[in-house]
Each structure stands twice: as C-alpha cells, then as structure tokens.
Subunit: 224 residues, 2 copies
C-alpha cells in the first residue's frame, strides 16, 4: 500500500482510555498505568510517563559551527554529547524555554530564532515531545547553571558532529534529529523562518512569547 | 572550546550510584529512583526507566522505497508513522530481534542485513538504546501480529518520508534517525557493511546471531 493510500481514518487502530490511573509519582517522573480499550473490543494496560515536554536549541555561530554540550546522563552511565536542551516549565511557552535553557547552560543569547520542528522521542512509553529551535546572532555571556548541574560547552562543525554520529560517539536521538534538520536546512531543502528574539523577561515590551505566559508564577520543575 | 579539546576525561561530570532503589514495577515499566553522588560531593536522586533496548529496521524494497508502519501510540494519543521496531526479548541478539520484528509486523524477510548505528532516545530518564538496522532483498509473506497489536503497513520513498518529516507528520525520533542514516548512506557518506541474513530459528546451521542465543528459553516481554 502506498503512503497516501493509508488515509486519515485511524479508527481501526485507536485505543481508548477506560480507566486512567497514577501508578507512581516521584520528584520528576509521573508514571501512569491506564486500562485501555483496543480496536477489537478487548482491553489491556498501557504504562507510560507523563512529561511536560522539552526544547532543544541548535545554536549557530557566525562561522557556521554549532554550540554543543557534554553532560553526565545517569541512565546511560556516561557523559553524552548533545545540543542544549531542557524541560519546559509549567506554563512556559516553548520559545521562552529555548531562550532560557540556551542562556542558563551556555551563556549565549541569540538575536534570531526559528522553530524547525518537533519530535516525539519515546512514543511507546512517554508523552514527551521536543521542540527543535534554531538560534543565530549569538552573543556570549556568563551562564547560570542550576545547582547540581555540571555541563561542558564546546563548538563543533556540522561535519564534526556528523562524523561523531557515524562513529557512534553521538547517539542522543534529539541531537541526531538536529543533525537531520541542519543538513536539510543547509542544503536548502528545509527552509526556516527566522524572527527576532522575544523581549527579555521583565522588559515592558510585549512579544508573541510573552502573550502566552500564564498569570500564575511559573513553577520550577525539578530537572532530571 | 573546540570539540576535540573536551578530551576523554569526564570525571568532573560523573555521577555515582550511592543507593539504587526500585520505585515501581509494572508489567512493562521498571522504574528506579537511585540516590546518586554529584561531582561536587553533594547528592541527589535520579529517576529513570530500565529498558531492555530495542531495534528499528529500515527495510529497502527493490525500487528504493521503504517499509513503514502506522500504529496507535497511546501516550501520544494518535496513530504514528514509523519504521518497524520492537523491544529486545530477554537474551535476544539484536539482529535476531530485527529479523523477528520485521517479519511479525510486516511479513517481510530480508536476504541481507547491515547494522547502521545506535541511538539513545530518552537519555534523561531511560536506559533505552535502539539499534538501527538496514535490510534489503525483501520477500513478502504473511505477518504474525501479537495479540492486541494493530499495525498498518505501507511503502514510501525517502522523499515522501522527508517531506512528511518537514511538515511535522513524521515526528517519531527513531524514525527521524533512520531518515538521517538513509540520506547519508544514499549520498555515499555513511557506507554500510551488508551480510547475509542469519539462519532461521530452528534451522540446524549455526550463525553469528545464533551463537549469542542463551540456553534458557527466551521470555516473552509484554509489549508496550
């Protein structure tokens, strides 16, 4: 069957919630075990993580190189090479999160931003979606790591990162998705729409990003 | 700092296990909450999923098109377009898992296989790693879906899938990593080493894949 012949009707695949249930809740992980109805009328359980979503930033230096990080990822048991990224705080617009994470982790501020795409990184067991943003017109500053956060920052060319990916030294899925976007963008296939950076928090001027800020103070969610 | 100047010493980033703990265990999710030591001597907790690992198969038809699937992903709440993939069963060699999943979900058997790469899809909170395999020399047959499994199968060109990715209709991270590999492989940058398919299970002839099969019967792990 050709892709376009699949059609948009997905009723024969659909699973419905029969009984939602919280299975466990930690400081970071919110684990659910829902009883669900399957397309054939039978039922089963689905176990998954509820995640607030995240953003990743592909930050371009003047010479075309990218800002990358290395940090310890405890579940993997090693320091991983990746693009700057972080979890969205409660009610935070994704672009504001992107601006904040880039600054906090690397010290860079960007003059222009473009939303590239979106990726779901663990569709079998997590609601997580990661927005992929590009940033350019970078100005270096003093970063502000959270307590308990230890991050190396470096600059690398697309070719260096692709080479690391091919050798199996860059395995982080979101960062590999960043390399996919970079390659297609650089070759003119996947254009980006750039816009000026949103006004800084606390500035009086209103921006699109500000207009989505909820009235209640943002909660600081514990970082993984 | 340049990428190569980061060096291989990661002691200043390393987190150590102080007290491992099972937080919750379902039929599928194995949730841990370990107390860990941070590089500055302080301690914190890390919450994560222990996952057996998975394989994804990029299966190439004679005309260069790819075998894709659409299935309901409950955490996302919709049917997702993706390459065939599945969890590794207890003690199962990854290539055997790749052969099994491709056959069970699509009915295809492949004459040749090549291991492309590896990706970690949720490094903040899961041990999961996904092996990326390419398959070619396909023969269609009758698939054998597990009970409670509902999967559409279709064929699509790389260009169709890249277009779906650009439009935000293909967001599954592992499949986007497959598109990265496909593009670089097709343009000659990331070559693959092809080998004949392992002998089928039950056949007398021994293969590399067979030699890693553990003596005890493989446990059937519940699918997410």
């Amino acid at each position: 069957m050709r892709l376009q012949d699949l059609g948009s009707d997905t009723g024969h695949l659909r699973e419905t919630t029969l009984e939602p249930a919280q299975a466990w809740r930690g400081g970071f992980l919110d684990v659910r075990r829902d009883r669900v109805g399957l397309p054939d009328g039978s039922s089963s359980h689905r176990e998954y993580i509820v995640h607030p979503g995240a953003v990743m930033v592909v930050a371009l230096l003047e010479d075309g190189r990218l800002v990358v990080e290395r940090q310890w990822r405890y579940p993997i048991g090693k320091a991983m090479l990746e693009f700057p990224a972080g979890k969205i705080e409660s009610g935070e617009p994704p672009l504001r999160c992107a601006v904040r994470e880039l600054f906090e982790e690397t010290g860079y501020r960007a003059a222009e931003w473009a939303r590239a795409g979106f990726t779901h990184n663990a569709i079998a067991y997590s609601t997580e979606g990661i927005e992929v943003w590009f940033a350019r017109g970078l100005t270096a500053g003093e970063r502000r790591l959270d307590a308990g956060e230890f991050v190396d920052v470096a600059e690398a060319s697309l070719e260096e990162l692709e080479s690391a990916a091919q050798r199996g030294e860059l395995t982080d899925a979101k960062s590999l998705v960043g390399l996919l976007w970079l390659r297609h963008w650089r070759e003119g296939r996947w254009p980006l729409e750039w816009a000026a950076a949103p006004a800084r928090e606390g500035a009086s001027q209103s921006t699109m990003a500000d207009s989505f800020t909820p009235p209640e103070p943002a909660l600081r969610i514990m970082r993984p």
